[in-house]
């Protein structure tokens, strides 16, 4: 099963060596053949083939098409798709058919990319293993006993298994980067506000980012360039032009200063993960990058700050699911109050309920100052850490996750062990910075390791450039799991 790059597929399409219909059919077949991964919540064969036919017809008519025209892909089921059920991995939204498209959905459809379906995910993007889905866990293509990471676990597994060349994802505390690392692919979390959140189901609005998972940084760049930009429908969308990142991919790395953050190699990091990360950094060094030891002294506060702020925002965002306007409604409520509390208890899974309760607690009278307000001050501390570090380096590096993919069930009973999987990723969201996870080879257990690179706000092109230059001289991102 060969997993061609977006540029290779686009060249084949342009030269008439293949068609969008053929590529869509092939992706759908691969998805069917790999049902056991459970990476999709739904496949939309008819819609995909119709969209592919339309692209082929336009090409036959001699129209100038976007590079992504006719390329099959999949959307994380957190993006609203008009007329197509969007569950967000929750029983609450099992029958929710949005009346509009998310901006990310619109922009990829405008380019002619062909969505074959919606990928599985942790419910409302809350999870680091994809075990919190109402539609079942996803397994890792590199080992069926292992998790793919989360919350964009279905997207990561679908790309790693060669079903689609790219998939959309979202990242609130690591939900693109950690599954990308666990599945041996490349995952880009853009700067906060760079990609519109319009139509993306909200978890924690000051942290949520839409992004992309693909095999390579070059492929991520093509997709990112299409989805990035200002959108007035998202009040936090940043109104400044998005420079094409694909143009910067080939820049040499000579003189690029990469800060190696000591804290990212702390106690919980497996030896094999640290070794692979250093090996990848040495490859960058060989290309002229300068490695600098740096310290991010407040990094160890990030998990606590994140797990106050994200649940607090979630408790507010998820208040909208009341059993009245849309979503699940309990059938045996005798009062309005019971309708709310039973619909929510029936519709939400246990991790979502836990985070709503934690967030409600952190915002409640008497605790607001000690938890929420203090967490926001710690957030400032963490953002200041990065500002300080970026005075002397261009990028910051470390392992994306402290371990390789853990086993299914290994942490699902222990929330704190699960949260620890996010130790190296959440700070980036708190500071709103862009970051990428790039394959860095395999640990002794045969499972993939990801290198995380972090840049200053809006410097996605620098991230993609460094990742692409690494992938020019290594083949870790080209490895494929046995089918």
């Amino acid at each position: 099963m060969s997993a061609a790059s977006i540029t290779a597929l686009a060249a084949d399409l342009a030269a008439g060596r293949t068609t969008a219909v053929h590529l869509a059919g092939q992706a759908l077949q691969r998805a069917e053949a790999q049902r056991a991964l459970n990476s999709f919540i739904r496949l939309d064969a008819d819609a995909a083939l119709a969209a592919a036919q339309a692209v082929d017809a336009e090409r036959a008519a001699g129209r100038d098409l976007h590079l992504l025209a006719g390329i099959p892909f999949a959307h994380k089921d957190i993006f609203c798709t008009k007329g197509i059920t969007t569950t967000c991995g929750s029983r609450m939204l099992q029958h929710f058919v949005p009346p509009y498209d998310a901006q990310v959905v619109e922009s990829l459809a405008r380019a002619g990319a062909v969505s074959i379906g919606k990928t599985n995910m942790d419910e409302f993007a809350m999870g680091s293993s994809n075990e919190n889905s109402a539609y079942g866990a996803v397994t890792n293509p590199w080992g069926s006993a292992h998790v793919p990471g989360g919350s964009s676990g279905g997207s990561a597994a679908a790309v790693a298994a060669g079903i689609v060349p790219f998939a959309t994802g979202t990242d609130t505390g690591g939900s693109i980067r950690q599954p990308a690392a666990f599945c041996g692919i490349t995952g880009l979390k853009p700067t906060y506000g760079r990609v519109s959140r319009y139509g993306m189901i909200a978890y924690a609005s000051s942290l949520d980012c839409a992004g992309v998972l693909a095999r390579s940084a070059a492929d991520c760049a093509r997709v990112f360039d299409q989805i990035a930009g200002f959108d007035a429908r998202d009040a936090t969308s940043v109104d400044r032009p998005a420079d094409p990142t694909a143009d910067a991919l080939e820049q040499p790395l000579a003189g690029l200063r990469i800060g190696v953050a000591r804290e990212y190699f702390g106690g919980g990091v497996q030896d094999g993960v640290a070794a692979r990360t250093h090996a990848a950094l040495r490859e960058l060094e060989k290309q002229g990058a300068v490695l600098v030891d740096i310290t991010l002294p407040s990094a160890h506060h990030a998990i606590a700050a994140y797990y106050v702020i994200a649940p607090a925002e979630a408790s507010s965002n998820l208040a909208r699911y009341d059993g009245v306007r849309y979503g699940h409604r309990s059938t045996d409520a005798r009062s309005l109050d019971e309708l709310y509390s039973r619909s929510r208890a029936e519709g939400f899974g246990s991790e979502v309920q836990r985070r709503i309760l934690v967030g409600t607690y952190a915002l409640s009278a008497g605790y607001y100052d000690a938890y929420y307000l203090r967490a926001q001050k710690v957030r400032r501390l963490i953002a200041n850490d990065f500002l300080g570090a970026f005075e002397s380096v261009d990028l910051i590096a470390g392992p994306t996750a402290p371990t390789t993919a853990f086993r299914l069930g290994e942490r699902s009973g222990d929330a704190l062990a699960m949260y620890a999987a996010d130790v190296n990723t959440v700070a980036v969201n708190l500071a709103g910075l862009p970051a990428i996870s790039v394959p860095a080879g395999f640990a002794q257990d045969g499972l993939p390791v990801g290198l995380q690179l972090i840049a200053t706000a809006f410097a996605e092109s620098r991230l993609l450039n460094a990742a692409h230059q690494l992938q020019r001289v290594t083949d870790w991102h080209l490895q494929e799991p046995a089918a």
Binding site: P99, R344, L357, V378, R380
Partner: protein
Amino acid sequence: MSLDHVAVRHIARLARLAVAEDQLESLRSDLERVLHLFDDLAAANVDHLAPLAHPHDQSLGLRDDVVGEGDRSEELLALAPSSQGGYFLVPKVIE
């Protein structure tokens, strides 16, 4: 930070989440563990730091006060589990 059943019931009530009596204890110990994680915040030195609510400290953009979207009430009401005559239906509130 320690929690008792009264506190858990109170939070669940604020969050409008029905909790069965037999779940109360496991939920309590679960939440208590997560809240212990937050003790770490007290150790951070945040004197003189302003809270950061938004990554770029930006203010929300303003837009012209014009209607951007037409009436979609029928479309949106169609998503409701129960509606009638242009209204959402809920269980009787006033006896």
